[in-house]
Symmetry: C2
Subunit: 238 residues, 2 copies
């Protein structure tokens, strides 16, 4: 039997509850069930007044559900409820593992829609008041993750950053010194400005500035999780 | 005298009024004056119930104000009003000429803040239901414009795209065939999937699929303005 429910893969934005979109707000208000990443702000979850909340994301100190289990819960919810929201931090289509869930929904013949969200790099740029692009000076901005398949060439992720005016590295984990060293080795200049961004858009947001060489040296403490912003556009005028 | 007003550079999102953020909504409701790009949706402008609206963007068939004139209006508004919103299509920090306005505000010692918006590539990806990134398969996504300074090397903009798994070309203008040819010449595969996206997120949104070689051949009609999405992540399973 075809599920009667509709699934919405919704971006919750970078953290601040008021960086949610109006469409996401309306869907949360209508939702019967919300399957949410654990890092979504409690005030955002509180908007889903009618819904049963199911935490499916990673929580500190606890094992996180496997993707297959999340897919199974999503399909089951669509068979039981009319309006199912799958809430993801940031934007669902940028490092959000959306493809796995989309494949599961298509395989189960379930109706679905994707609602975009503000991804962390956009919010960090806004808070820093330093644009990701600048006319005629910074014409490309690349979003990248060093996480890769076991069979891909080592450091294959770094190539587009070397040629790009500016970049954001998502999910770099604790290894920021190594990431910076790979970029140095690939030819990026030692004095390239870097911003280590943590808890973007929240009251306790933390932005640490350094050069690429300083980060590579391992002397700059990086909070985890960290978004790494790289490029001349992040230089502070002296 | 220091201006008493505060300026907000606000992203209006890709077009659909409900893809505005809650923060942008609140600021529009409070605004005394809104300086807006012409492409912002009328329903979004209607949210600024208290404000004087000033159109500063490009309109078909009419000359658009020079950037210096927009900067002058912005600084003048901050001297006359408490809450000044500068509304820009998409995200202010992605191909939004924010730096010019930020420089003018800093030079005039005016208090300001930036509010992010959903940029067109995120909204197009959501509507296509095809993620910009995929785990272990599409690890970089680059946003680029071919617009460049007179003294930069020709086609310098294309380099990061050749190495990136996926890309969005903003403000490509009418010259999509040339853009595709540059990417082919730089070594991108002829059968790379391309989506030509127009009026993203609006009811009359238009998405045209082709290969990079087909676009380069000039046989694919491209609506203007167009967002060009490129990469295997946009392939439709056969």
């Amino acid at each position: 039997m075809r599920a009667s429910g509709r699934v919405y893969l919704v971006g919750a934005g970078p953290g601040a509850p008021d960086l949610l979109t109006l469409r996401a707000l309306r869907l949360l208000e209508q939702a019967d069930v919300v399957l949410t990443d654990a890092l979504v702000h409690p005030d955002t979850l509180a908007l889903a007044t009618r819904a049963t909340l199911v935490m499916v994301g990673k929580r500190a100190g606890q094992p996180s559900p496997k993707q297959a289990e999340i897919n199974r819960l999503l399909v089951a919810a669509a068979h039981e409820h009319r309006c199912v929201v799958r809430l993801k931090g940031g934007d669902p289509m940028v490092f959000g593992r959306a493809q796995e869930e989309i494949d599961a929904l298509i395989a189960a013949d379930i109706d679905f829609e994707v609602v975009p969200g503000i991804t962390a790099a956009l919010a960090a740029s806004a808070e820093l008041r330093q644009p990701l692009t600048q006319r005629a000076r910074s014409r490309h901005f690349v979003m990248v993750t060093p996480k890769q398949a076991d069979d891909s060439p080592p450091n294959d992720w770094a190539r587009p950053i070397v040629d790009a005016d500016a970049a954001a590295v998502y999910m770099g984990g604790a290894d920021v010194a190594h990431i910076a060293q790979v970029l140095l080795d690939a030819g990026r200049s030692a004095d390239t400005p870097v911003v280590l961004a943590h808890k973007v858009s929240l009251p306790d947001a933390d932005y640490r500035r350094a050069t690429l060489a300083e980060v590579a040296s391992g002397t700059v403490a990086a909070p985890v999780p960290v978004l790494i912003l790289i490029g001349e556009t992040f230089r502070v005028p002296s």
